[in-house]
C-alpha cells in the first residue's frame, strides 16, 4: 500500500510572531520553523497504516529549498522517501491542490493523508480541493482510520458537533487528519541519521505540468488591537451611564 502525505513548513506555534512593517507577512528572522502539527499527525497515521499493511510512505512538500528541513523530519519519523516540489513564489490552497493532483497522478498512491489545516494561515482547504480535482472520495477531520482487510476501503471516524460520524470511503481516497487521530512518534537519533540517506526527488512545478496562478492573495496582516486597561466605576449608575454613552451597548 502506498500512502502519500503532505508536509508543510510552518512557524513554531509557540513562537511570538511579529508582522513585517509593510504588513505583507510575518517576520521570519530568528523564528523557528517546524512541521505543521496536523501534518505530523498525518505522517504518523501513514506510518501506522504502513506498519500494519506493509507498503511505502511518501512525503511531499512544496516551497523553497528550506522546506526540505521539515521533509527530513518526516523521513526521520520513518517515511520512506520524499518529493520536493521546488517553487518560489506565492500560491493559494487551490494551487497546492493542483500541484498535489499532478504528484498523485504520477505516484498513484492508495491513500493521500493531509493535515486538516496548516497552523500558519489556517485555510484548511487544500484537502477538499485535491479530492475534488482527483474525483476521489474524501474523509476530512479523521479521528480514527481503519483499512479494510481487502485493502479496498477505509473506515474513517470523524469528530462532529456532539458526537462521532463513521464514514466508509473507497480507495484511493483523500483523508485529512484531526488533532486526536494519534500522538506522533519522536524521531529517534539513529533515525534522524538514517533520514539523511533517504531519497528525495526534486521536481519543479513546470515539470509536473501544474498551473500555479493564485486566486487568493494576502493583502495585509495586522496584529490584534492591544487590550486597553479597564476602569473602576464608582456606582451602578455610573456603569449604566458608561455602557450607554461610551460603549454604546445598551
Amino acid at each position: 500500500m502506498k500512502i502519500l502525505v503532505t508536509v508543510k513548513r510552518v512557524s513554531d506555534p509557540e513562537a511570538k510572531l511579529k508582522i513585517k512593517p509593510d504588513g505583507s507577512w510575518i517576520q521570519t528572522e530568528g523564528v523557528k520553523f517546524v512541521v505543521n502539527p496536523f501534518d505530523e499527525i498525518a505522517v504518523e497515521e501513514a506510518l501506522r497504516i504502513k506498519e500494519k499493511q506493509t507498503g511505502e510512505v511518501v512525503v511531499v512538500s512544496i516551497g523553497e529549498k528550506v522546506v526540505t528541513e521539515q521533509m527530513r523530519a518526516a523521513l526521520a519519523m520513518g517515511a520512506d522517501r520524499g518529493i520536493f516540489v521546488n517553487y518560489t513564489g506565492s500560491y493559494d490552497s487551490y494551487d497546492v491542490a493542483n500541484i498535489l493532483q499532478k504528484v498523485v497522478e504520477q505516484e498513484k498512491p492508495d491513500i493521500i493523508i493531509l493535515g486538516k489545516q496548516a497552523v500558519d494561515d489556517d485555510m484548511g482547504a487544500a484537502g477538499f480541493m485535491l479530492a475534488e480535482l482527483l474525483g476521489y472520495p474524501q474523509a476530512a477531520f479523521a479521528s480514527k482510520v481503519e483499512i479494510s482487510d481487502d485493502k479496498k476501503k477505509a473506515k474513517v471516524t470523524r469528530e462532529i458537533d456532539g458526537g462521532l460520524e463513521v464514514k466508509e470511503v473507497e480507495l484511493p481516497c483523500v483523508i485529512t487528519a484531526d488533532l486526536r487521530l494519534n500522538t506522533p512518534r519522536y524521531a529517534s537519533l539513529p533515525n534522524i541519521m538514517k533520514a539523511k540517506q533517504k531519497p528525495v526527488k526534486e521536481v519543479t512545478v513546470d515539470a509536473l505540468g501544474a498551473a500555479v496562478k493564485p486566486r487568493v492573495t494576502v493583502k495585509k496582516l495586522t496584529e490584534p488591537p492591544k487590550r486597553k486597561g479597564g476602569v473602576k466605576v464608582e456606582s451602578v449608575q455610573d456603569l449604566v451611564t458608561k455602557l450607554k454613552n461610551e460603549a454604546k451597548v445598551i
Binding site: 511570538k16 511579529k18 528572522e29 530568528g30 528541513e69 527530513r72 523530519a73 526521520a76 519522536y186 524521531a187 529517534s188 537519533l189 539513529p190 533515525n191 534522524i192 541519521m193 539523511k196 486597561g229
Partner: protein, 606 residues
Amino acid sequence: MSKEAVTKPIGGGFLLEPTSAKDIFVPEEFTEEQLSFADTADDFMEKEVIPLQDAMEEHDKKIELNTKLMKKAGELGLLMIEIPEEFGGLGMNLSTALRVSEAIAKSGAFAGSILAHNGIGTLPIVYFGNEEQKKKYLPKLASGEMIAAYALTETGYGSDALSAKTKAVLSKDGKYYVLNGEKQFITNAGFADVFIVYAKIDGEKFTAFIVERKFEGLSTGKEESKMGIKGSSTRPVVLSDVKVPVENVLGEIGKGHQSALGVLDIGRLKLGVASTGGSKEVIKQVAQYTNQRIQFGQPISSFGMIRRKLADMMIKVYASESMSYRTSGMIDNAVHALDHNAPDYSKKAAKIFEDYDIEASIMKVYGSEILGFVVDEGVQSLGGYGYIEEYKVARAYRDARINRIFEGTNEVNRLLIPGAIAKKSMKGELDFMGKFSEISAEAESGKVNKKPEPGFLGVEKLATDIAKKLTVYTTGVAVQKYMAALMDRAFQFGRGEYIFEQLANMIIDVYAMDSVVTRTLKLKNMKGEPAVEIPVLLTRALVYETLNRTTLTARQVLGDVAEDNAAEFAGYEKALSGLALTYPLNVSGIKDKIAQHIIEKESYSL
C-alpha cells in the same frame, strides 16, 4: 563544522594570544541533523519528563519513573550519542553531545540522571575500557538496557577524592579483587546496573573498577533527602566484600585518576552548557510572567529594574553559550585530527580533554554561577509568586544550587584554573612568563596601544586585549612574588587561595569576553551586520562591565600582593595605569534595548 585545517588553539592559549573569529566554533554552525537531535531531546523532555516532575519526587515512584524514562531515552537514542558506532552508538562529537545536553537541561532532576549516565557513568568505559569491556558494556549502555553511575566520592573524601579509602585486594587465586568501602552521594545509585568504582589496591594504587549491581556484596543505602533535584536518585553505595573479576579493572592499575579526572573535564563542560539550557528556560518564564503581571497599571516588564534583570540574564547566557561551544569546537577539531583507527585512539582523545582542563573548569564555574544568578533574579522577578511552588521558577531555584557543588566544587575548580596554567607554563606548553615580561615592559614604557581599530566592535576587541594583558600581568606579578611560597602547603591552602580565587575570576572573565567578541565577529561575517544587532548589544554590554570588573580585581590583587608596602604597590600602580582602559558607554541604554527584545520574543532568541 568545517573540516579544513585550523590553527591549533591550545588549552589556556586564549589568555596569551588574540583569538581569530574564523577559528572558533559557534552554535549557529550546527547542522540540521544536530539541531534535529536537540529537537528530539527537547520534545522528549517537554512531553514525557516535565509532566512527571512532581511524581518523580515522590519517594516510592522515583526509581520506577527514572527507570522507565531512562529506557525511553535509550529508545530515542539519547544515551548513545558519544558511544562509538562499532559499539552500538552514534559516535558523534562533543559539540553534538553538548547541544543535546543543553536541551535535556530543562528538568534539573532528570537531566542529572541522564547526564550522569551519559557522562561520568559511560565515558570511562568509552575512553579507558579495553575491547572486551567495550563490547560487553557499551551496547547496553547505549540502548539504556543498562544504566551507569560513577562512584568516586566518600564520606570523608569529597574534593580530596584521590585520597579515597575504599580498598581492593586481589584474591589468592588472582581471579578477582575484593572491594570494601562506602561511596557517598552517588547519582543514579537507586537504579544503576553498572558502577564505575574507584578504590585503592592494597590501600595504595588508585584504580577504577567496573562493578555490576548484581555482584554479591554491593548494596545501596537510603535515598538522600535533597534540597533540589529531588527527582533524581542519590544514595550511598556500600561495598562489602564485593568480588570484582580482574577483567573488570578499568584502565591501568594505579592510574585510576586518569579516568576519574579526565571524564570530569567533559562532565564540567556538560554541566556548563546544561546551566545555559536551564537558564534559557527561566528567561522564558520570567519574560512571560513579567509581560502579564500588571502593577501600577502597566506590565512589570516595563519597569527598569525588571528590564535590567532580563537583560543581564541574556547577556550572561550569551556568554556562557559562546564559551561552551567554542570549547567543544576546539576539542572536536583536535579529536577529529587524530587517527581514529589507531589502537591508542581513545587514550589520545581522553588526553585532549585533559588539555582543555582550564576551559572545562571555567565552564563549570561560569555556567553554574550564571544559572545561580538567573534563577535568583528569576524568583525575584516573580515577586511573591516566585516563592510559590506552583510557578516553575521555585523548582529551578532549588535545582540550580547543586550545580555549584558537584563535579568538583566551584572552589576546587577555581583552584584548578591558575594551577593548570602554572603546570602548562612549567611544561612549556604555554609561554606564560615570556608573555608576562613582554606585557610588563610594555606597561612600564607607557606604550600600550589604547586606540581601537576603527570599525565593527573595535573598542570591544581592544578591551578584550587589555583584559588579557591585565590578567597576565597580575597573575605574573603574583607568581613572581610567591614562587617559593607556592610550594608551601600552608600558603597554598591559606593566603594563596585568596589570590588564586581572584586570579581565577579574572581568567574566567577574559574567556567570557574573548568568546563573546569572537562569536559576534564570526556571526557578522556569516550573516551580515544587520542580522547581528542583538549579539552586538550583548557583546558591548558584557565587555564593558567585565573590563571594569577585571581592572578593579587587578588592582585588588596587586594590593594584596604588595602586602601594605606602599613603594611596591606604587610600581604595580604605574603598570596598571599603563594598561588600564576606560571608555564611555551608556550601558543601561543598551540593556534596555536587550530587555525590549526579550519581552517581545518572550524567550532567549538572538
